[in-house]
């Protein structure tokens, strides 16, 4: 008997080096459990996440993309996350406008102390993506 394969969404997470990446690390060292569906990519600052990264992630087959940075006011570079917030607002609206499910793209603030919040965000994200199925809209069809 063939087992029905369960859809496992793939999430690409751009985590800033100083807060969110440290937060995900904390989740690891505290032995908190969260779904293994996430591919973390450490960037220097959420403000350095170009929209190209996000579109590229979707093109290369990500089912969901997460951009995560320090809480407002806590940015290591003083104001990088404020710039990110503006830019990501526009990206989110644009993706929604062309018909990409809004659940596929999220932004979050995760500090270095919020390991628990990080696990929660990832588990919720996976739960949201499961009913949507694979993302084939922007996936490269070359």
């Amino acid at each position: 008997m063939k087992m029905e394969e369960k859809f496992e969404p793939k999430i690409v997470a751009f985590l800033c080096k100083w807060c969110s990446s440290a937060g995900s690390d904390l989740a690891g060292v505290s032995r908190l459990k969260y779904p293994p569906n996430v591919v973390p990519i450490t960037v220097m600052c959420s403000g350095s996440v170009s929209p190209n990264y996000i579109f590229s992630a979707f093109k290369k087959g990500a089912d969901g993309v997460l951009v995560s940075g320090c809480h407002p006011g806590d940015c290591h570079y003083m104001k990088g996350n404020y710039y990110a917030r503006r830019r990501i607002t526009l990206v989110k609206e644009l993706l929604d406008f062309i018909g990409i499910e809004p659940q596929r793209f999220h932004m979050s603030w995760v500090s270095a102390a919020e390991g628990a919040k990080f696990t929660e965000i990832i588990s919720d994200f996976v739960k949201e993506l499961e009913p949507l199925g694979p993302q084939n809209k922007l996936r490269s069809n070359l």
Partner: protein
């Protein structure tokens, strides 16, 4: 109303005084009613100058060519270039100044107000006057346009033949100018973002179906990029031509030259290109509608840029090209920018 004679007189005057190197304006296409851009550097040529509802082009684009030319010359003529701008075009000049691409002294701005009317959409015009010999278009004042067919004049309400962007335009008067012709007018538009709101009201599947069909058509001719006054980068992120790999290209160089967009005109790459373009024009697009007009396969590219315009106004209260001394949309922030969507 803009009086063409006054406009011509002013152009003759500044050319005579040597205030400007040349003037970029509009002239009639050989015996047709539509116009083409004209570069006037002699006083006699000013006679050909035209200002009517067929002046569809955004002449600000040519300031880029002028800048590139100037950079190559050993002893460049530093006099400004005269350019005839409509309301939307003047905001494009403002953005170039805001981004330090040109300085205010590089350009002598001759503003013309569209007042209650605007620029025609050639498709709508030829549809309305199908089979008729259109000779000339004129502003008739009070939101009307006079169309001369053969020897017969007919006056039609502007909305019937105006370009979509002109119907939605709220800033018909140039913001920045050295000399202005026509009146400063406000335009009451009940809902400037009506089409965008309609598209937004679709559900996800329908939105996707709509855009997928449009993007499938794209042949990647890059006409939208070539015509855009805002696309002035020396090396476009979408171009892999300049990223040619030669035998002596090092691994490091390759790593630094990522191919964000492949050249093949397939849906995913077309989407990528147009999404990147929309992002790069966010807070910069002045809705001059040129990309829309030149698209050989009629993709409504304006909608993407218009959507970004709507969001920058809704979320950040920012309209492109209004205040050149302030920072651009994405190079500044407010601490209380909306963040309801952030987890």
């Amino acid at each position: 109303m803009v009086t063409l004679e006054e406009l011509k007189d002013n152009c003759r005057q500044i050319l005579k005084e040597g205030k400007v190197k040349y003037i970029i304006g509009y002239k009639r296409k050989n015996g047709q009613y539509m116009t083409v851009p004209a570069f006037l550097d002699r006083i006699e040529e000013v006679d050909h100058l035209v200002w009517d509802p067929s002046c569809i082009y955004n002449l600000v684009r040519y300031l880029r060519d002028e800048k590139m030319r100037k950079e190559k010359e050993k002893e460049p003529d530093t006099r400004p270039v005269g350019v005839i701008v409509k309301g939307c075009d003047s905001r494009a000049v403002n953005i170039l100044i805001q981004e330090n691409y040109i300085t205010r002294d590089d350009v002598y701005i001759i503003g013309v107000s569209c007042e209650k009317s605007g620029i025609v959409d050639e498709k709508k015009l030829t549809k309305k006057f199908a089979g008729k010999d259109i000779r000339k278009l004129d502003f008739a004042g009070n939101g009307k346009i006079q169309v001369t067919c053969g020897t017969k004049n007919s006056v039609v309400p502007a909305e019937e033949i105006l370009a979509d962007r002109c119907i939605e335009c709220t800033i018909p008067t140039p913001i920045v100018f050295d000399v202005l012709f026509g009146e400063k007018t406000d335009r009451e538009v009940p809902d400037p973002f009506k089409t965008i709101k309609e598209l937004e009201s679709f559900d996800t599947t329908r939105k996707w179906e709509f855009w997928k069909e449009e993007m499938d058509k794209c042949i990647r001719c890059y006409a939208c990029r070539s015509v855009c006054p805002m696309c002035y980068c020396d090396e476009c992120v979408a171009d892999s031509i300049s990223l040619a790999v030669k035998p002596d290209t090092t691994a490091e160089e390759k790593a630094h030259k990522i191919r964000w967009v492949e050249k093949s005109p397939v849906i995913s790459e077309n989407f990528n290109y147009h999404l990147i373009r929309a992002m790069h024009l966010a807070g910069r697009c002045v809705d001059c509608g040129e990309c829309d007009r030149v698209c050989p396969v009629d993709i409504p590219l304006r909608y993407l840029n218009r959507k970004m315009e709507k969001e920058s106004l809704d979320h950040f209260g920012y309209t492109a090209g209004m205040e050149p001394e302030k920072p651009t949309l994405v190079s500044c922030f407010r601490e209380d920018d909306p963040e309801e969507f952030i987890l």
